[in-house]
């Protein structure tokens, strides 16, 4: 039986099931396979904070959304072309964003009265006609998987856990994906349990075979490779890219890398990754709490190491005092805040950009520090590297902001060549004749880095205000004002050491959309589309949030209107308004999700009217 293959420019697919159904695993595998085929991808893992909420309930639904494209894309997609729903709760929570006439594959075996009740369905949607506007495929996945695995004589409990790969097999057939990578994933993931290797491989193949055999599926689809810039690519999450960026910075600066960290969602993967790289001399210290984590990093920095601490919003709140100590003692370190929904414990697994003000001002006293934000998963490498460069060159703690969306999301990353990475030069003080702890470099205003073990440079530092040059404790009020200004000036000066802003679009016009952090993808997509429609709209994206680029003020004045989309209640917009006295307009969303490009498009339309 030959079936028709239709070519698509791009497709958005969403897997949804119980937290224990393995949706993240198969979604991630489809992402990796698609990236290897050469597609551009955008990913949005969307899972609950509970490890296993009660089975079949709405809070227990875990989703994985994937945008696969034959062109350069910047978002995980918006409305999906296909939805794979493993139970009624998954259907209920995800159906809203399935396109009309979209493909809906459900595991009909799970649409029994108890599950329908848990999902608060009054009637079975598979039977009441409510799904008629979709191409609905009700597939007895549980039963079909059991039949396919019958000969292995495994218990039903084990067999039923393989149905995620049955579903993946169906999707692989539907979108003409090769199975090689999935096969090797199964082999390595279950290497210690050979019976599970066989079971999952059988389930995967059974899923594809089912689509091939049954009359239900007439069409399959393909998405051709994207035309990306030449280079070596790999698929990478933001957290993994950050870990690699730090290792690269340590390697290039010839410093030993130290991470003090305390596990916290969604930042823990950076700790996990760096803990693996012991052969690079990386020392990871899982501290007793967030405060000890940052303090151990302060100690490592004092000792001449490239020091890091990684956390999320609540952890940053706890680290504030120690970051102040690093500012006062002018020691280099990088603090990563993978932002999540707040305040307090908030939404641990959902994304938000609401810690910008905390990064700017979340410490006692006048305590400025550089702040850098990564724009997308693949940008996390360069942002981490750049944070290290600035920290070391200017002897200052640097805050690097990402968020749950880009930290867990993945996309193709053009792997850099080591020789192309910027130089990071480190000079430790050596000469007892000229050494003074707070004698600043004329150009960078950085103080010298004198590390314990160096003969003749024994000195004391601490959190008390110090006298200029000598670093001795000083309560002199004029000295305090001088030192306060010098600490600020040192940070402000970094504006002379960062690249000029690149304007995407015309250099002046009606509307400028200003983004920072993870709004990059949705903003770029929206602005590109509106420009193609002939609208006078440009965009800029700010990586260096403190100090802001020197040319920002001038650029803002060249546009009649300024729009600032943020996943918060309006934080960066207030900084722009205060600093540049421009009537920037906020666009805000705090739903634990990134912007859809359509939301920004609508705002652009609203602001431009018919212009």
């Amino acid at each position: 039986m030959s079936k028709r293959v239709e070519s698509l420019e791009d497709v958005t697919i969403r897997f949804a099931g119980d937290s224990g159904d393995g949706m993240q695993l198969v979604g991630g595998e489809l992402a990796n396979t698609s990236a290897l085929i050469g597609n551009d991808i955008g990913v949005l893992p969307d899972y609950p904070a509970e490890i296993r909420a009660p089975i079949g309930t709405i809070p227990g639904v875990s989703g994985y959304q994937l945008h696969i494209s034959s062109t350069d894309i910047h978002t995980p997609g918006e409305k999906y072309d296909s939805l794979i729903a493993m139970n009624p709760a998954a259907l209920k929570t995800n159906l809203e964003n399935l396109k009309p006439n979209g493909i809906l594959i459900v595991n009909s075996d799970s649409f029994k009265s108890r599950n329908l009740q848990l999902a608060r369905y009054e009637s079975n949607p598979l039977e009441d006609g409510s799904l008629d506007k979709y191409q609905c495929f009700a597939v007895d996945m549980t039963d079909l998987t059991r039949k396919a695995l019958r000969e292995l004589e495994l218990g039903n409990k084990v067999v039923d856990r393989c149905k995620n790969f049955f579903a993946l097999g169906m999707v692989f057939w539907l979108y003409n994906r090769t199975m090689d990578h999935a096969v090797s994933l199964i082999k390595s993931k279950f290497a210690k349990k050979p019976e599970l290797v066989e079971a999952n491989l059988l389930a995967l193949k059974a899923g594809a075979a089912y689509c091939e055999m049954t009359e239900q599926f007439i069409n399959s689809y393909e998405v051709k490779p994207a035309k990306l810039k030449p280079g070596i690519y790999r698929n990478i999450t933001g957290n993994s890219a950050i870990a690699l960026g730090f290792i690269a910075a340590a390697n290039r600066s010839k410093l030993s890398l130290f991470l003090g960290s305390y596990p916290i969602t969604p930042a823990s993967d950076i700790l996990h990754d760096l803990s693996k790289y012991k052969h690079f001399g990386v020392r990871t210290f899982q501290a007793e709490d967030e405060i000890a984590a940052v303090c151990s990093a302060v100690g490592a920095a004092y000792n001449g190491a490239l020091a890091l601490t990684t956390t999320s919003g609540p952890g940053l709140a706890l680290k504030g005092e120690a970051i102040g100590l690093a500012i006062m003692t002018e020691l280099p370190m990088v603090i990563v805040n993978v932002q999540r929904g707040g305040p307090s414990t908030g939404l641990p697994t959902k994304t938000e950009q609401a810690d910008l003000m905390q990064a700017f001002y979340g410490r006692n006293g006048e305590s400025p520090l550089p702040i850098i934000a990564a724009s997308k998963s693949s940008d996390c490498f360069e942002s981490a590297y750049e944070a290290c460069r600035i920290a070391i060159k200017y002897m200052t703690p640097v805050i690097l902001l990402t968020d749950g969306y880009i930290a867990n999301g993945a996309e193709p990353w053009s792997v850099p060549r080591v020789e192309d990475l910027a130089e990071i030069k480190v000079t430790y003080a050596k000469d007892p004749e000229t050494y003074m702890p707070f004698l600043r470099d004329e150009k960078t205003l950085a103080r010298p880095w004198a590390i314990p073990g160096t003969p003749g440079l024994e000195h004391r530092v601490g959190g008390l205000e110090k006298e200029a040059d000598t670093g001795n404790v000083s309560y002199d009020v004029r000295n305090h004002e001088y030192m306060t200004k010098m600490r600020a000036k040192k940070v402000d000066n970094i504006a002379n050491d960062i690249p000029p802003i690149e304007i995407d679009g015309d250099q002046e016009g009606e509307l400028l959309v200003v983004g920072w952090g993870s709004t990059f993808g949705a903003t770029k997509t929206a602005v590109d589309k509106k420009r193609q429609e002939g609208k006078s709209v440009s965009s800029i994206h700010i990586r260096y949030l403190n100090p802001l680029p020197n040319d920002l003020g001038d650029i803002l004045k060249r546009f009649k209107k300024i729009l600032v989309p943020e996943i918060n209640s309006g934080q960066f917009v207030n900084i722009l308004r205060a600093k540049y006295l421009v009537p920037a307009i906020p666009q805000n969303k705090v739903q634990g999700l990134p912007f859809f490009s359509s939301e920004i498009e609508e705002k652009i339309d609203e602001l431009l009217g018919d212009a």
Partner: protein, 349 residues
């Protein structure tokens, strides 16, 4: 570490350092009569004997009167934030195990705001020396009760008497798995110097509690143990392998009645030294040390002074470095480009 000392001293095994080499140019600003002066002096007197080059010492402190200590030592020093010295010292020791790292802290700094870091340092057993100045009061904030102040203590913040039950620092340390626990007094310079040297020699976290008098806000808190007239009857000196004997005429001893220590007379013919508790600082079971550390909580018993416990156990930084060495041996020289290019890659031409 021994090898480095040798290198640094060019084969000359004895470094010629004196007390003066450890005195910084900063004016010491504790209240006249404060017990801290003695601890500073005993430390400066002890270090020359340790045969460690001066540049390898790092003194780390938190906040409180005691925590000004690093400013007065002509070594590397870090006066950090309240309670966090153990965590900062851990970062220092982990990134350079070759250094001799000392934490200077007080009863409030270590046991109140920094309690968490304190117990976890002891649990991990980094080779760091901790000296806790216990004056049973908050001095720098001018006289509030501390976590070691006695129940009912009247202070500015407890005008009706404190209703907090106090910590016993040595017991907390033993309970946290400390491998070296000792107690000494600001008024006993020779004993303190001996303890400082033993603490330094110990591989692993060394915890030293010092009875320290705050003559402004809690004067005489330890006088029962430190004054000549009362000391002999209220202090028992711990000596490894020896029975616990005390009293002006060495006429009293400590015997265990079940697991409860009690004072017995050695002169009434009922008990002899053979009946007494014999101190074993190397006992791997912490029960013995715990019983001893708690004796001072009983007003009828003398307070033991000396080393409660001294045990060998793997140090955190050594275990970590062994893992790193093993990984380097297994995976060879790190290749950054290979790391970046690892995993499933594809080429776009």
């Amino acid at each position: 570490m021994a090898t480095t000392v040798k290198e640094a001293s060019n084969g000359d095994t004895q470094l010629k350092l004196t007390k003066k080499d450890f005195e910084s140019d900063q004016e010491v600003r504790w209240c006249p009569g404060c017990g801290d002066y003695s601890i500073l002096a005993q430390t400066q007197r002890s270090l020359p004997d340790l045969n460690i080059p001066k540049e390898k010492y790092v003194f780390v402190s938190g906040i409180g009167c005691s925590s000004r200590f690093p400013y007065y030592m002509d070594t590397y020093g870090f006066h950090t934030i309240h309670g966090r010295a153990p965590a900062i010292a851990s970062g220092i020791k982990i990134t350079n195990p070759d250094l001799s790292v000392w934490v200077i802290t007080g009863d409030g700094d270590a046991l109140s705001i920094g309690g968490n870091h304190f117990i976890h340092l002891l649990r991990r057993n980094l080779d760091i020396n901790v000296i806790l100045f216990n004056n049973k009061i908050y001095g720098l904030t001018k006289g509030q009760y501390s976590p070691t102040s006695e129940y009912g203590k009247v202070t500015k913040s407890s005008p009706f008497g404190s209703v907090d039950h106090p910590f016993n620092p040595a017991s907390v340390a033993i309970g946290s798995g400390a491998t070296f626990v000792a107690r000494t007094m600001d008024r006993d310079p020779a004993h303190m110097q001996a303890i400082i040297k033993r603490a330094s020699a110990h591989k692993g976290t060394s915890f030293v509690e010092v009875f320290q008098n705050c003559n402004i806000f809690n004067d005489g808190a330890w006088s029962k143990y430190t004054e000549k007239s009362t000391k002999q009857d209220n202090v028992v000196l711990l000596e490894h392998g020896k029975p616990l004997v005390f009293g002006t005429d060495k006429d009293k001893g400590i015997r265990l009645n079940g697991s409860t220590p009690e004072v017995v007379s050695l002169t009434n013919g009922k008990y002899s030294e053979a009946d007494l508790l014999v101190h074993n600082e190397n006992d791997t079971d912490s029960t013995h040390a715990f019983i001893l550390s708690h004796m001072m909580d009983n007003p009828n018993l003398p307070a033991p002074i000396g080393i409660f416990r001294s045990l060998e156990k793997t140090c955190y930084e050594n275990a970590l470095n062994e893992q790193i060495d093993a990984a380097k041996e297994k995976f060879g020289e790190p290749d950054l480009q290979a790391l970046l290019d690892a995993g499933d890659t594809w080429e776009v031409k």
